[in-house]
């Protein structure tokens, strides 16, 4: 299945999908040292985003979140790619400065946890197998 959306940050990557029904805040919500989601009560609490194709509706929280995503990338704990339903500026800027391939305007309900997903941001496509 190929889903089409919009390019946010260039590049291509593949990995296992980790899907959240709720927004993610990379400042305070995810621990940069491990890539583990630490926000209390979050659907992904305790799961690691490291190397995953991270799928969630939209970002939330502090504008410092862009730098937090960058820190995760530097420490090797960032997701391989990001797929959003509706991007907002914090995640968009974070993905661009961290060089994490990112697309939005994707029907994320069609992606299940554990699906193998290939993101080609330059083509604005997501291939789910």
């Amino acid at each position: 299945m190929i889903l089409r959306g919009r390019k946010v940050a260039r590049g291509a990557a593949e990995g296992e999908a980790l899907v959240s029904s709720e927004g993610i805040s990379f400042y305070g919500g995810v621990e940069p040292e491990t890539g583990t989601v630490v926000e209390k009560g979050h659907p992904l609490e305790g799961r690691s985003v490291k190397g995953k194709v991270l799928v969630f509706p939209s970002g939330k929280g502090s504008t410092v979140g862009s730098y937090a995503l960058y820190e995760m990338k530097k420490l090797g704990n960032a997701p391989a790619a990001i797929i959003n339903k509706d991007i907002e500026t914090i995640v968009a800027v974070g993905a661009i400065i961290s060089e994490i391939p990112c697309v939005d305007q994707i029907d994320i309900a069609k992606i299940r946890n554990g699906n193998k997903v290939r993101v080609n941001a330059d083509e604005a496509t997501v291939e789910v197998s």
Binding site: T63, Y67, A68, I87, T89, V93, I96
Partner: protein, 390 residues
């Protein structure tokens, strides 16, 4: 989005790596938000300065950009995590100070004026009516759009920096007339006299309307200090980048159908909601940073008196220089209060050092509670000084 030949070259890397990265950010944001083109900005205010918020990776990012990045327009800085000269006296750890100095050094290398204040409009970064700018710092964004009549979106640290290094911003949101019209009329039927009245009003309106743009009626007059406090409060509790205040602010607007009101009772209960009734162990004045008038008034109030608790007076450094020249600094320091330039309670690493913060700022109440887990007390400056000295 259509780019000029020069803009395309900037995006292609012909003007260096920092410019290429910056253009990538601006073009991506422009495309996401439906901008048709980039426009020139006359100034930038960069947020994300405290090492406390940036961390090591943020510092690395800035150091990378500073390798070949130079700002193309007047660019000033938000407060840092410490007073850059007087940090020891404020109890800032040496290790933190060194890291904070590296952050400021990276900004300076890019040609940014290291003002370290949330009130750039008091120290020379003062756009006039209709000018386009790219500012971070929610209170300053709200003040610039509403009180000065300049035009800026709410920028985050990296996007503001991208505008500084290119002199451009994508044309969407607050840059366009159609997005600057009021969406709700707010009729104020309450006594608006003191700074805390305006802080409470921002709290009430922000909580009621969120990010909508209000046309506020019923406020007969407001000083610069009151508008500063109101801008900070409404941006903190609601998130709007712009308000109209009839008879006071300069922007024109159409009048929307939706009407709400704010009563005297609501202002009174807002003041109660912003006050935990604790016994203060730290008094902090100057959120946003004090005006010249405020520091003059404070010096007069403190003359010949002694403060019995920790008290921070937060100002931009150029305002402090004038206070030095006028003898206000000596009066304030003789009273035992401390002047904190370049920083404030919101961004300094002071969590755990105090339990109860007394302030005249509704914004400081929010961040004192949320970020630092303090209880808070909300009063006007004369009451705070009276209390701290007796």
């Amino acid at each position: 989005m259509r780019l000029t030949k020069e803009e395309q070259e900037m995006l292609d890397g012909k003007h260096g790596i920092a410019v290429r990265k910056s253009m990538e950010i601006l073009v991506a944001l422009g495309e996401i938000f439906g901008a048709k083109r980039l426009i020139d900005v006359v100034s930038v205010q960069v947020s994300g300065v405290s090492y406390h918020n940036l961390g090591e990776a943020g510092l690395d990012y800035l150091a990378d950009l500073a390798k070949d990045g130079k700002v193309r327009v007047l660019t000033t800085l938000n407060p840092a995590g410490m007073d850059t000269e007087n940090w020891r006296n404020l109890g800032i750890p040496e290790d933190f100070a060194r890291k904070q100095e590296r952050v400021i050094g990276a900004f300076r290398k890019m040609g940014i004026i290291t003002t370290c204040t949330c009130t750039p409009y008091f120290v020379g970064n003062t756009p006039h009516f209709g000018e386009h700018v790219a500012w971070g710092e929610s209170s300053a964004v709200c003040y610039a759009n509403s009180v000065l009549g300049a035009r800026t979106n709410r920028e985050g640290g990296p996007s503001a920096l991208a505008s500084a290094l290119t002199g451009k911003t994508p044309e969407f949101g607050m840059h366009l007339d159609e997005n600057r019209q009021a969406q709700v009329v707010v009729n104020v039927d309450a006594k608006m006299e003191r700074v805390t009245d305006f802080g409470a009003l921002g709290y009430v309106i922000g909580n009621k309307i969120g990010k909508k743009i209000p046309l506020i009626r019923g406020v007969r007059k407001a000083s610069v200090e009151q508008l500063k406090s109101f801008s900070a409060s409404i941006a903190t509790y609601g998130g709007t980048a712009l308000f109209h205040m009839e008879g006071i602010t300069p922007n024109k607007t159409t009048v929307p159908d939706e009407n709400i009101s704010v009563t005297q009772e609501e202002i009174v209960s807002a003041k109660k909601a912003l006050d935990d009734g604790c016994t203060p162990d730290i008094y902090s004045i100057g959120c946003p940073h004090l005006s010249l008038k405020e520091i003059e008034d404070i010096a007069k109030m403190l003359e010949g008196r002694k403060v019995k608790k920790e008290m921070w007076i937060c100002v931009a450094r150029p305002i402090k220089r004038i206070a030095d020249q006028m003898g206000y600094t000596k009066i304030i320091e003789d009273s035992g209060a401390k002047i904190a330039s370049d920083t404030c309670m919101v961004v300094a690493p002071i969590k755990g050092r105090f339990k109860c913060l007394a302030t005249d700022s509704a914004k400081a109440c929010f961040y004192g509670r949320g970020k630092n887990h303090f209880s808070v007390v909300f009063r006007d400056i004369p009451e705070l000084i009276e209390e701290a000295t007796s």
